[in-house]
Symmetry: C2
Subunit: 181 residues, 2 copies
Amino acid sequence: MTVHVALVHHPVRNREGEEIATSVTNIDVHDLARSCRTYGVENFWIVTPITAQHAIIERILSHWSSGEGRRRVPSRWEALSRVRLAKSVAEVKELTQVDRTWATAADPRGNSVLSLDAAKTQLKEDRSTLLLFGTGHGLADDLVAGCEALLPPIQAGDYNHLSVRAATAIILDRLFARDRA
Amino acid sequence: MTVHVALVHHPVRNREGEEIATSVTNIDVHDLARSCRTYGVENFWIVTPITAQHAIIERILSHWSSGEGRRRVPSRWEALSRVRLAKSVAEVKELTQVDRTWATAADPRGNSVLSLDAAKTQLKEDRSTLLLFGTGHGLADDLVAGCEALLPPIQAGDYNHLSVRAATAIILDRLFARDRA
């Protein structure tokens, strides 16, 4: 099984449910790259149509690939070397040629939900999977509707406002941790 | 059961294993407060002896408790209202009167490790627990040695460099998620 993760900055929702593009943040690049490396994700795709944001990410990466950062913290490049840039989820699918795309959401979306157990079983198949995580107030409905499956929300209690950094870490741990006891 | 979480900025280790104090970051305050609220943690303690850093956190909190932030994102104050400040772990213990303190670490520390299953069972007892998370390169050894137990490292593979934001989210999920399937 090969797994790719994409952090989607467009199309996502704002607080009012409108479709927007969010800005890339340095901390998301680092945290998700580290979580992806920890759980054996092949590539971590940062998706935004705004090419100026691609330039920002490339500048961050160059600090850690060849600059002072690499000398000082070599483990960070091990994670950041898996970062890839794309203008859209469609472009990620084209470049990775994944067999299926699964969405994540904190709230119900009308899609039928794949249980975590079923997801874990299917991930053992010899197929490649792209997992989508949304910034802002989550992936746009059309994007979710176009996926092969939707993973269950984290739903730990009555408060449903984890950061995307925390949510991604939890979902990867739930899907890929070898031993939970 | 009552659970408290503390994010420790001193005493922690730097890359060389020396004891240092790290700086508070805005994103840690937000992310850990949101994760703590999600999993029903009573209070999220930010531990640093540097009082100038307490002032920074108080300023962050005031924006979300009564400022523009509260009006715009009311759910955020629900999480941040659980933040408390302390100068040391000893002060947290004194103020909370917890029955026991458990450390977390990404690397072995000589302490015997409480399995996750045992920890989950013990958390159902009528006792209060303080969970310590370290910034920098982890909690100082003396601090870990003074705890009643050490939780197992996350150990998902050969890469052991999660952000403290990701690690805290994963540990809280492993301990407190109601339903993992």
